[in-house]
Amino acid sequence: MTGFWPTFKKELFSYLVNPLGYLILLLLYAFRGLEIGGQIVVASRVPFAEDQFVASYLLGNSSYLLLILVPPILTMRCFAEERRTGSLEVLMTAPVTEAGVVLGKWLAALTFFAGLWLPSVPILAILQGDGFVGGDLLTAPLFASLFGLLLVGALFLAIGCFTSSLSDNQLLASLSAIVVVLGLLFGPQIGQRGILNARVERASLEESGFVHDTLVWLTDELFDPVLAQIHVGQHLGQWFGRGLVNTGHVAFYLAGIACFLFLTVRSLESRRLA
């Protein structure tokens, strides 16, 4: 793990002094302000539970936009830029290990990513005051939602690091990462809709026979449970966002992070060997 700490410090500093990060912060909270302002107007007209408000604050469209765009943007220059300029080879000749470098870059990006969500806590603390929305908003489900967002973000950042290590073109790296992220966020939803259509089709088939039985097995026994386990959008909205932490989901994210960081290390090693 040699090289982890210097890499982490360098990368984190570069994120902090880059105005791009603050611009992301500004755009996120401006967009969220518009979104949540609308929710508050709705809450003044129809019964709106406190836990629903917290979930909608953290898991609105702005949050999903942030999850799709920011990790690829933060990680696109991690390795791609350095490959393009040739500084990656210089870095690899230093007494550092690939694992240390990968972990340092990933953790720096994760630290900055986590910092983007931190202002939500004091904002909700102010909102729960008497002159504002009121109620008890700083409850454990808020922190469960933040934990979920952090896990998802960490996975997407690991994916971004991997795609960045495969190419020397930043744009290609970020686009590849966006495609994979979109696949994880919305692919299972599309898959489940497909299964629903298959069930409708199945209803018109005779209820016996190899084709029917195979369709039933594929949809009900295989794809549907697998899609539910990897449906990132559902994990956030139906589980973490409601204050329910499923250790199975946590294992999914941790294993995914380990998988992509391992692949990033392998990618750098194979480049060094080549």
Binding site: V17, P19, Y22, L25, L26, Y29, A30, R32, G33, L34, I36, G37, I40, V41, A43, S44, R45, V46, P47, A49, E50, D51, P119, I123, I126, L127, G131, V133, G134, G135, D136, T139, A140, P141, A144, L196, R199, V200, A203, Q229, I230, R242, G243, L244, V245, N246, T247, G248, A251, F252, A255, G256, C259, F262, L263, R266, S267, S270, L273, A274
Partner: protein, 523 residues
């Protein structure tokens, strides 16, 4: 061949990555599948009211379903009418309750495993299946959204939302002063209680018959005014008991099919009636009796049931049990609120009907109690156990005033405070047969049709009745109630919140951007 070596190395490098990628993804999938196995995964509920957590009692019943060796799995099926995302409050509430019900049933199915099958029918894709299943269940022409709990041919139907939620529906929609239109309100979601009750009822064999003893002094349990037991009778019926009334002053013996004789605040029990009850107990009968004080024609009525209690080795006092309310380091006072007490785990004995309440931290509410104390000449084979009593620091006795409200005089000597028994269990070795007679006596524990008391004491009541009929698997606490905390916003709050979120916060972020730019330039 000169250029083939780097080419080969690049190819090998690419193959290395592909192979590693495939391996890594396979490992990822395996870890995910294993970690999501029901035996390995854990659901951590951090919601304030633990609304995704089911009670230990319900969990025990569900986990035990497999061990029961049921011929077929128990099934819970929902038939919900899809509702649009409308601004109408009632529709919003129904949607919310449907969503809460589905969440709850998915949690229940995780604990029940293969012994409990949960299915949510979708009208978009399952029309034929819905029709077929409704015919099998003989549901007839049920309208609206409902859920069915079934075990073989037996079934129980729950209307959603009305039987799984407590909804406050205004009597009139006329605009109130101030321009406010009354709207329906979701007070509590009681789905776990509702479904757990139906599951337990289906598991219990048979339907024991409870006879409620009545006489001239108390001729009805469901009077519209005063102390009505309607709510209590409903929950007993839901728990699988058959209910009957018995004019105890007009019979010569308690019927043979009587599983429990219930005497709810009896008054005017004649010596003959009391003998009848004693005889019933001595042949293995089961009795539930709760007493209170009362007034009739401005006279205080405090029956003591000497002919029944004394052979069983105890008596009931004439004074009122009160709690001493401290008003300083060494001073206590009485007062009207001294008559009501909340007795927690420390005041309960480890009796089977109270253990679940102690584990769940559920107290019992007591109002206008009288002391149950050992005394008199006890028959052979009678065992008296004090199971509910006031705390050593709390209890004292105050005399009733003749024709007045009960006085709550503070005892001059604080050392007169002592634990006072208000609940007792009596078991009697039978004269014949091998079934012990049992009686549970509670003083001042009313199961009236008031939300306050029934909310606290419903568990105790049901546990008592189930224990008396030896349905020990049903002795537990009922489900959690989820009460949504609704935001209540006025226009000023809306305006200030919008200003914060749309103006001040983005303004602050803009300041950070400018500061970062400035610092970057100055470096």
């Amino acid at each position: 061949m000169k250029g083939s070596a780097p080419l080969m190395r690049r190819l090998l490098g690419r193959l290395n990555i592909w192979f590693s990628g495939l391996l890594a993804i396979v490992v990822w999938i395996l870890i995910t599948v294993v970690a999501n196995r029901p035996a390995l995964k854990e659901l951590i509920d951090v919601t304030p009211q633990k609304r995704f957590t089911i009670t230990a009692g319900t969990e025990e019943i569900l986990r035990g379903l497999g061990a029961r060796g049921l011929e077929e799995p128990m099934r819970i099926e929902t038939f919900f009418v899809p509702l649009p995302n409308s601004a109408n409050t009632e529709i919003q509430i129904r949607r919310r309750v449907q969503s809460l019900t589905i969440d709850l049933l998915d949690r229940l199915s995780e604990y029940g495993g293969e012994a409990l099958q949960v299915r949510h029918y979708d009208v978009r894709t399952d029309i034929a299946a819905i029709r077929e299943r409704q015919e099998e269940l003989k549901l007839g022409q049920l309208q609206g959204s409902f859920a069915v709990v079934s075990l073989g041919q037996r079934k129980r139907v729950l209307s959603v939302p009305f039987e799984v939620a407590d909804i406050d529906v205004p009597q009139s929609r006329a605009v109130l002063p101030g321009g406010v239109t009354p709207e329906p309100r979701l007070k509590a979601f009681v789905g776990e209680e509702a479904f757990a009750t139906q599951i337990r009822t289906l598991l219990a064999e048979g339907a024991p018959r409870v006879y409620f003893g009545l006489n001239g002094a108390r001729s009805s349990l469901t009077a519209a005014i005063g102390d009505s037991y309607s709510e209590f009778l409903n929950i007993l019926g839901d728990d699988g008991f058959q209910l009957s009334q018995l004019r105890i002053d007009e019979v010569d013996s308690i019927p043979e099919d009587c599983a429990v004789l219930a005497l709810m605040e009896p008054r005017g029990l004649t010596p003959k009636s009391q003998q009848l009850i004693l005889t019933y107990l001595r042949r293995g009968g089961r009795v539930f009796l709760n007493t209170s004080w009362g007034q009739a024609n401005s006279r205080v009525v405090n029956p003591t049931f000497d002919e029944l209690f004394e052979p069983l080795g105890f008596q009931i006092g004439r004074e009122l049990v009160c709690q001493a309310i401290p008003i300083g380091r060494d001073q206590i006072r009485g007062g009207r609120d001294a008559r009501a007490m909340q007795l927690g785990g420390g005041q309960m004995s480890p009796h089977p009907i109270l253990l679940p309440l102690q584990s769940a931290g559920r107290p019992v509410r007591v109002l206008d109690a009288r002391e149950l104390r050992e005394g008199g000449v006890r028959l052979a084979g009678v065992r008296f156990e004090s199971i509910l009593r006031t705390d050593r620091r709390l209890g004292y006795l105050a005399p009733f005033g003749e024709g007045d409200e009960p006085m709550t005089n503070v005892p001059r000597d604080p050392r007169s405070l002592r634990p006072i028994t208000v609940g007792a269990s009596i078991e009697i070795t039978p004269e014949s047969g091998d079934r012990d007679g049992r009686m549970l006596v509670f003083s001042g524990v009313a199961f009236l049709n008031t939300e306050d008391l029934i909310g606290y004491n419903g568990d105790l009541a049901l546990n008592a009745f189930n224990w008396l009929v030896d349905r020990t698997e049903l002795v537990t606490v009922r489900g959690n109630r989820y009460q949504p905390q609704i935001l209540d916003l006025n226009q000023e709050q809306v305006d200030s919140s919008k200003a914060l979120l749309r103006l001040y916060v983005p303004g602050l972020m803009l300041g950070c951007v400018l500061l970062a730019l400035y610092l970057r330039r100055s470096r």
